[in-house]
Symmetry: C2
Subunit: 112 residues, 2 copies
DNA sequence: TTTTGATATATCATATTACGATGTATATTT
DNA sequence: AAATATACATCGTAATATGATATATCAAAA
């Protein structure tokens, strides 16, 4: 697991990216998916995930629909049009940032 | 310029990396160097840089020597042995993090 | 001549944000 | 019966980058 500081500013981008590819996902599903995708290197803790989902909904990036599944209430989140726009911005910025950091950290490394 | 959140946790790594390659540098020089290396995309503001240098010195990662240059006091910073060790750890973590983020953000992109 | 901009350092309050701790509740596995 | 996985939520804390502010020298431009 990475230092939590490194993750700052990336959680929203990750959530938006996943939801732009999956139509709808619920919180727990997102955290499991991220865990899988990163071989357990990024663990979205519930203390981070649920507040993030709520804030993103408040900001109009996501919407949700509650459904009863096996006696439990499940919140399915969808990405909004605004979220799609933000996703592009976030992801582009993140890509650019990664390239820039690579220049400093690994000057010998050149992406294809 | 990137959102400040993205930079969290990377500033120390950047400073350690530069000082591991330059024997000694002073604050302003570091900020200029980072600006150059990143085409102005990362600007270490003085409100971030000087506290960071002080904290890293307090943590034993850096040492410094004051010198008078043109009537002004200049603090030359050196990386310590502990700093060298930390640099390896930080930079490796950052590289690994970058790779992991790439997996999520650009699943089609494979580093060489 | 004055003032702007670059050089060079520093401190403090603020805002952001990920996370640990804690709580609730059901279903499944041991 | 107990432990684990599923599924959500809230609150206080800690870390940290930055804006604002301050001080001071020097060169160049207005």
């Amino acid at each position: 697991m990475y230092s939590k500081e490194l993750l700052k500013g990336t959680i929203s981008a990750i959530i938006l990216k996943l939801l732009s590819e999956h139509e709808r996902m619920y919180g727990y599903e997102i955290s499991m998916r991220v865990k899988d995708l990163t071989d357990g290197k990024i663990l979205l803790k519930d203390g981070s995930l649920y507040p993030a989902l709520q804030k993103m909904t408040a900001d109009g990036l996501l919407s949700f629909k509650e459904e009863e599944v096996g006696g439990r209430t499940r919140k399915y989140y969808y990405i909004t049009k605004l979220g799609q726009k933000e996703k592009t911005v976030f992801v582009e910025e993140l890509k650019d940032f990664i390239e820039t950091m690579n220049k400093i950290i690994s000057p010998e490394f050149k992406p294809v």
